[in-house]
Symmetry: C2
Subunit: 188 residues, 2 copies
């Protein structure tokens, strides 16, 4: 009942409208390297996040483009920026705060879309059958080692396009002192 874990650093998904403003009209993102989830990729492009208390420079853009811009940071990043971002599932942006985004061609005053991504597991329906879980189940994940811990409330997301992997943010990964690709245990 093991699966690999991956640490997500702060990043941003952009709409084409916001790409136009930040990088220039009809600008196309430049793939830098593929991510583990099929079709997803890190881009050469980076932007700055400008909050009322501080700025975070060089935040990586992930592709492909999305319908709505989404910025994923850690709780510590929110403190640096001076904005309290809620812990939310990707795509659940209703009522979340915005943030100013600065690119080489201009700035976007994002009205909503700043979140701390809640930890979750990607798996396909075969994996789900093997683990005996269903889409939207909440499970526990146990890590080993000096900083061993058990993450509770871990959301299972099942889609046949998904690669089996648990996603945590850098603070969660460091709290467990786990490395990318390390195997962790699913507990129902």
């Amino acid at each position: 009942m093991k699966l690999p874990i991956a640490l997500s650093n702060k990043h941003i998904h952009l709409s084409q409208d916001d790409i136009n403003t930040l990088f220039g009209q009809d600008y196309k993102l430049t793939p830098f390297k593929p991510l583990s989830q099929p079709g997803q990729f890190a881009c050469e492009e980076k932007v700055d996040l400008v909050g009322p208390k501080g700025t975070i420079k060089g935040v990586r853009v992930l592709g492909p483009t999305r319908n709505q811009t989404q910025v994923e940071i850690s709780l510590a990043d929110g403190f640096t920026l001076g904005v309290k971002a809620p812990i939310r599932e990707s795509g659940d942006l209703n009522g979340t705060p915005g943030i100013k985004i600065a690119g080489p061609n201009g700035e976007v005053e994002l009205q909503e879309g700043l979140i701390v991504a809640s930890r979750h597991i990607h798996m396909n329906s075969n994996d789900a059958k093997n683990f005996g879980v269903n889409d939207k189940d909440l499970v526990k994940i146990k890590t080993e080692g000096q900083r061993a811990l058990v993450f509770e409330n871990v959301l299972v997301r099942v889609n046949d396009s998904y690669q089996l992997e648990m996603h945590v943010d850098v603070e969660e990964g460091n709290a467990a002192a786990v490395k990318n690709g390390e195997l962790v245990e699913l507990i129902k």
Copy 2:
């Protein structure tokens, strides 16, 4: 079986020798505010940590002075500095890396003393009796809420001068989304 949790940000404990170099001969630290553990205090003074990959400015000095300088950072801070700090109990500095420390009067090339503090619980012998634990026991601590988790391998430290409190670093605290003073549950 509950006790309060506290998040420790990066900080430094200094020997008088290193205070002399960083702030001037026979310089005395200026208390800024008392900490929860009796006799411990945050100081007005701050220093910079200068690593091979990056610098962290404004790291708070804690008092009183110690026999040996000890720098406590997070795993993420170690990445920023470009130094791999081990997860260690306070005072267990043998074989740990050093770091360059910059103060207003000079610089110290610390030879060892850079650690990520391992999570632990301070309690007095009465608390220990109430919780049914002993000095150096490893216990589990359970947190509640959206990011509920169970920290394993939590070291119990018993001393009658201690105030009951669990100490985690900022990454561990944010991984659990707990606030200073929040109550957590001890599990044997």
